[in-house]
Amino acid sequence: MKRIIANGQILDRGQLVKRDILIENGRVAKIAEDISTDGVDEVIDAKGNFVSAGLIDVHVHYRQPGQEQKETVKTGSLAAAHGGFTTVCAMPNVTPAPDSVNNMEALIKLNHTDGAVHIKQYAAITTNRGGDELVDFKALKDAGAFAFSNDGNGIQKSSTMYEAMQQAAKLDMAIVEHVQDDALTYGGVLNGGAAKRLGMKEMPWVSETAQVARDVILAEATGVHYHVCHASSKHTVNVIRAAKQAGINVTAEVSPHHLLLSDANIKEDNAMYKMNPPLRGEDDRQALIEGLLDGTIDMIATDHAPHTKADKDQSIATAAFGITGSETAFSMLYTRFVKTGRFTLAQLVNWLTKQPASVFKMRGAGSLAVGQPADIAIFDLKHEHEIKESDYLSKGKNSPFTGEAVYGDTVMTLVDGDIAYKRS
């Protein structure tokens, strides 16, 4: 099968240039200004739209098995393709958790058969993603684990984290941590300012930063690659910056919603603004942006967390934590940060492609280059469109960005040269 993506604009040393892309046997065979369509099976006219390397998201939640009413591998990965993502890394909070070789193998098989995009699978750090009984790291790595995480839960006991890091370091695997000291959350749901305003319990920033501080020290001691999930507080950024300066092998991600929103956006008791960690202050938001710009934060990852209407259609006090992200990330970030000149297009794409690929040593993902798999996303940067609930392919409709007018709608997504999403 030979395809050509014609008349696209690709990023070349930071500038958009017109290029045609020839795809052969699922890989990029040629990139040139004009490629002859002789003997080609299909010509995709990109019509001057932006042709990007397919995006990578190292943090998504597909609820299968266990909570298929919220999301399945199929719907979640279709949502990813809709957002221009071609590689995603699925967190282990499903039931049963991938804490054994059997569970892991079953999940990898499901990801493979049902996935519309490439899905890499995290393994749990401890049995059932709780307690202190470590999984068999070697066996899970051999079974195909991408990295280790207990996402949704922090590891409370220092010695458990220390031993997990020792094991992972030996195997050259990353520990990807949802940082949360449970005792310091005090059962809170919102950042200070919003909590006070709405009369809710506060989840203080120390619950995140204190654990990051512990973990970077343990990472220094063990030499493990330690990755911080969804940084939310300026204090966390400071700790990571200092740890990097000290030569500790720490990396970090930030979510689109922590870049786009602060707790000042929470005007009323609306659970679309409830996530963990919570939206923090404007100064925190600015520190996260600065952290990305100066390299303290390595990448953007969505923390796509689909929930049912019933789970979110309640007070912030009781609703489920989390919002979806796959289908809104690129267009929201492009509109708010690139259109306004805060980021360049090259920077934004870098944080969503090359950076996660290089930090997690993913082969064959994150770059648009000859010889690489044809994982490609085409975005319309010129026309405004409205984010509509009816366009979501995810089962989760829980996004605070529904109704926003944005640029950067996905026109088409190709995975291994085949069309995984096409705008109708």
Binding site: G14, R336, T340, G341, R342
Partner: protein, 315 residues
């Protein structure tokens, strides 16, 4: 910061509406380079004229200073002694300057969008920098305001900026609210509510001055035109009353966040928009704005020099 922006090149610089967010940032970065000592060398002597059909000492002098700093030869023009008084059209005046060898002109005129006919005229080749057209555009003022904000905060996205005062008569208000919104800032308005018409409501909400001072990153005041207000149905204009109701008093200034700044396009009516003693206070950037105006105008002229391939070297 690893922002990469390309050097700006424009045939004419007449309206903020022609500029993308990236263009605005490129102008700011170039102006910052000039402020830091950047110089250019020209391929040949280049001549500029400042055709101020409507007088404005500040803008005129600032353009002239910018031109001289770039090494341009400035040709004098006095509208009161020119053939304009003999009925010559603006177009003919511009063509005359072009014919005698002028390369770039800065123009100010009472007529809105006077530049449209000039740009459309195939016989006009001089570069036109708009120094203000009627109640329309004033790109160099808008860019110097943006530069001053950018120098302070390093970004626009998420900033809260209030524009306070005589909104309806101000071209600064209009171009700044559009540009700030494009750059991702949140715009608010203050001052007499009767001036807050629908065209402003599209860009941001009106808030009482006492609330604005506590929340804004930037308080941008506009000059109150006495004559316009004195004609109001409420009778004579009272500076004291305006100041008490809408102005920046020392008490209000004391409630502003530590990091926030005060701006004003000047000239300031001391004791009306801003209390006399605050014009040069720590938060005030009013004279910095004028200082930046020269560098922004250097960047504007440079973009037109670059467009005409008249620059030999930049260093």
């Amino acid at each position: 910061m690893m922002q990469i922006t390309k050097p700006v090149s424009f045939e004419n610089v007449v309206s903020m509406e022609d500029l993308s967010a990236e263009d605005v940032l490129s102008f700011i970065h170039e102006a910052q380079d000039f402020k830091a000592g950047k110089q250019i060398e020209l391929k040949r002597p280049v001549y500029a004229a400042n055709l101020f059909f409507e007088s404005s000492t500040r803008t005129h002098t600032s353009f002239e200073m910018a031109e001289r700093k770039l090494g341009l030869q400035v040709v004098n023009f006095d509208p009161s002694n020119s053939s304009l008084s003999k009925g010559e059209s603006m177009s003919d005046t511009v063509k005359t300057f072009q014919a005698i060898g002028v390369d770039l002109v800065a123009i100010r005129d009472k007529k809105n969008e006077y530049y449209k006919d000039l740009i459309a005229d195939p016989n006009v080749h001089v570069g036109i920098a708009n120094g203000g057209d009627g109640s329309g555009q004033h790109p160099s003022q808008s860019l110097l305001d943006m530069m001053t904000i950018y120098e302070e905060f390093g970004h626009f996205e998420g900033l809260k900026v209030a524009i306070v005062g005589d909104l309806t008569h101000s071209r600064v208000a209009r171009s700044n609210m559009e540009v700030l919104t494009m750059l991702g800032a949140h715009v608010y308005f203050g001052g007499p509510k009767k001036w807050y018409t629908e065209e402003f409501a599209k860009y941001g909400e009106w808030m009482p001055i006492d609330d604005l001072v506590e929340e804004m990153d930037v308080m941008m005041f506009l000059r109150v035109q006495h004559e316009r207000i004195a004609d109001d149905e409420n009778g004579a204009f009272s500076a004291e009353k305006y100041h008490a109701q809408y102005g920046l008093t020392a008490e209000r200034e004391s409630r502003m966040p530590q990091h926030s700044i005060i701006m004003h396009p000047a000239p300031v009516n001391r004791g009306v928009e801003i209390a006399d003693e605050l014009v040069e206070c720590d938060k005030s950037r009013i004279f910095e704005q004028m200082h930046n105006g020269v560098f922004v105008r250097m960047a504007i002229m440079t973009s037109m020099l670059r467009n005409r391939d008249l620059i030999k070297e930049e260093y």
